[in-house]
Symmetry: C2
């Protein structure tokens, strides 16, 4: 009768909205592992977890935004409330710090790993719901330049721990660029920065053309800008080059001193030049940044663009408070990064689709004994599962294989009586006679 | 000039929507730790992480729902899409399993920790955005009863690990109740269950009155129902009592056999009767459950009600597929639990508002050396922070005290030269002379 009712029931085709990411267990295991790794690394630098509501008051969340961002925001009314879904983690941070200013200890170092929402046009690798992983250090009135160096150390440790291949962190300082542009008597430095930032995408010649056309400077000045950006080589070379210019502009000098301090402190933090460099072409599109800026490239996959970016800003929360709150931070767009790494084949998948390390399979009359032994292994730190359903042995072993469970133990009457059983390595087929979780420890390998 | 602009800028009062939870670092540290603990425990039983979009198609998400739930859902249009925010993690699971049926391995064991949304009337301890922590085991066509026992073991391990005081898991079986009601020739068993479930809230007498009035049974029959529910004592006592009834109803017998099997296997899983019991009064309001049902009480805070509930269901996804997908699972309403524990003072706060275990404070000319040493300690597994801003020593130590950082190291010229420094225990004031992270390990205690 139940089945009949069921058949008469209207079935709704299960599907999700377009532009949203949803993963199968094998992929989800990797993404969850990446999230855990990032969290652990952020915490090892003493960043404090923060969690803010996904839904905010529209008037507060959109205090500053206009243009493209505002159009993309998911915004709706419920009851009397005009509600918006957060589109990044920076605006909620600004709101939080302003709102709880008197209750926080500064410098306020927080990390936030959470979903954000943008109703972008669906396109490959762009998601409407995606994870951002952010750290920021917010000072109360001032914030030492060493903080800018530490951020690089965090990026370094994070991508080392993620183990997704060789990477290079590129740093620059906007004061240096702006100071040089001022020296060249370029008035529209914001637009100049915006165009210069596109150099790797559109090329040197197009940047030159745009500078002449959009900023209204001479070809000669545009060439000066470009040859300045050509400064490359080792950090020592670049620094020497920048000093040789000897530009009589205070902003330039300040930027140069900051960049030098940042580089020295990065080295003290144990990050070698193999992993970071100065790249004068990095400007970052946002007019938000005021000093140090960061981008991070995967050396084997430059086509992915920057996978971790950020910088220094003077006023985090000027929309919400008159307090001066300078800060420095970075963001990893994790969903997009994961999608891209997957696309280029940079993710090493094991067969593992579950946290389970050992599957215990009882014979029919050993269920309770098996549960006891499984609990013993779980208490010893293993992730353990007991196959608890009827069926043939072949089906149970297929289950282990399909999920990529690395070790299997079968417990029959003999094993129950003797307390000794075989731990089978599913990859090699090897069997190890053991009688305790302690004995297993010298045999089992760690998988994620 | 920047400051002037700033002063002219319109300041928006920073605030959040009512009914949303947002925590300060000290509380957030605890909630994050609880979430991590739950995740780790779920994974130790081999539950697979699952993450589904917060936004779903309304027609899919609301395929079944009506009444109260539908009214509470956050639902809106964007472009051509009719969008709803998930209000639990069970409906998305049903949709996911039906949608990816051919790509999943069964039994499918998943955990999901995520935010859900309900536009409830704001009231104390009820939130419009809250975390649920769910596990479910889904069978393909069938699912052995041992799974119902394992769920209790997971609840046990989770609350043991959360360390929030003594608790008791109460189990029951709906077939047992329904079989007994059928035997008493009560027709409306659904309504009877619904009323019986309120017994701890409204009391025995009121339940009796409601049964007579709403279900239309005699006072005598209502009394039979109630005296059946009075069965209490040890599990052995209750089982003996239930067997003595010897009710000639198949559903009753099936329920009794299931309950007995569940209890035996729970014990094999190492959960003692101190932590679980059979409680025939537990019915769970939802008409969804078909067999085993669970509730969990904190012994010292019975006023909190059930902090972890769930049960067995025959058809997870009948709205989305004709496949028979029986399952069993539980849910912890974490945000509400955290709020309630806080309210009754059951959370032991340390002073700690940061993951940082050791704060390194450099003197002005030892910054780089300090960064080097800090990196060494971080690589050794410590969560380490370097105080990187100017200021007097008193201010720096105040920072450590305010954040409750347990250990502080000050590095001046002498320390730099000798490589030996004092590790100061901020709680006791004790100083330990050390020269390496290895030496620190025998001194430092673990805090969360």
């Amino acid at each position: 009768m139940d089945e009949k009712q069921n058949n008469q029931k209207k079935i709704v085709e299960p599907s999700i909205l377009s532009g949203f990411m949803e993963l199968l267990p094998k992929e989800q295991m990797i993404l969850t592992h990446m999230t855990d790794t990032i969290k652990k690394t952020f915490e090892s630098y003493g960043f404090i977890p923060l969690d803010t509501p996904v839904l905010e008051k529209s008037e507060v969340l959109l205090a500053k935004s206009g243009g493209e961002t505002a159009k993309q925001v998911y915004r709706f009314n419920k009851g009397d409330s005009d509600i918006a879904m957060r589109f990044d983690l920076t605006v909620p941070l600004a709101r939080y710090v302003a709102q709880h200013y008197g209750e926080l200890t500064f410098p306020f170092r927080r990390y936030h790993i959470g979903k954000v929402y943008r109703g972008e046009k669906p396109q490959k690798g762009r998601f409407r719901e995606f994870y951002q992983c952010d750290i920021d250090i917010i000072g109360n009135g001032s914030l030492g330049i060493v903080n800018d160096a530490e951020i690089v150390s965090v990026i370094f440790s994070t991508f080392k721990a993620l183990d997704i291949g060789k990477f290079k962190i590129m740093i620059n300082n906007r004061k240096l660029l702006n100071g040089y542009f001022e020296y060249l008597q370029i008035e529209n430095t914001v637009e100049t920065l915006r165009i210069v930032d596109k150099i790797d995408k559109i090329g040197r010649d197009n940047v030159k053309k745009e500078l002449v056309k959009e900023v209204g400077i001479s070809e000669e000045t545009a060439e000066s800008v470009l040859s300045f950006l050509d400064n490359a080589g080792s950090i020592a070379d670049i620094m020497a080059g920048l000093k040789k210019y000897d530009i009589p502009n205070d902003k330039y000098k300040e930027g140069l001193a900051e960049l030098e301090a940042v580089c020295e402190n990065i080295k003290a933090l144990g990050v070698s030049e193999d992993y970071f460099t100065v790249n004068l072409k990095i400007a970052r599109g946002l007019d938000y940044y005021t000093g140090t800026v960061y981008e991070t490239m995967l050396c084997d996959y430059p086509q992915l663009g920057s996978i971790c970016s950020g910088g220094r800003y003077d006023e985090l929360a000027s929309n919400y408070t008159k307090q001066s709150l300078p800060g420095v931070g970075i963001s990893i767009g994790l969903s997009r990064l994961f999608y891209q790494l997957n696309e280029v084949g940079a993710i090493q998948y094991s067969n593992k689709c579950t946290p389970t390390e050992i599957l215990f399979i009882p014979m029919s009359d050993t269920v309770q004994y098996t549960l006891e032994r499984a609990t013993e292994f779980r208490n010893a730190g293993y992730s353990v599962e007991v196959y608890m359903n009827d069926g043939k042995m072949a089906k149970k072993l297929t289950y282990a294989n399909k999920l990529g469970i690395p070790y299997v133990v079968i417990i029959g009457a003999d094993e129950k009586e003797s307390g000794v059983f075989n731990l089978k390595d599913m990859a090699t087929g090897e069997q190890h006679k053991i009688s305790s979780a302690e004995e297993a420890k010298s045999i089992t390998k760690k998988y994620i």
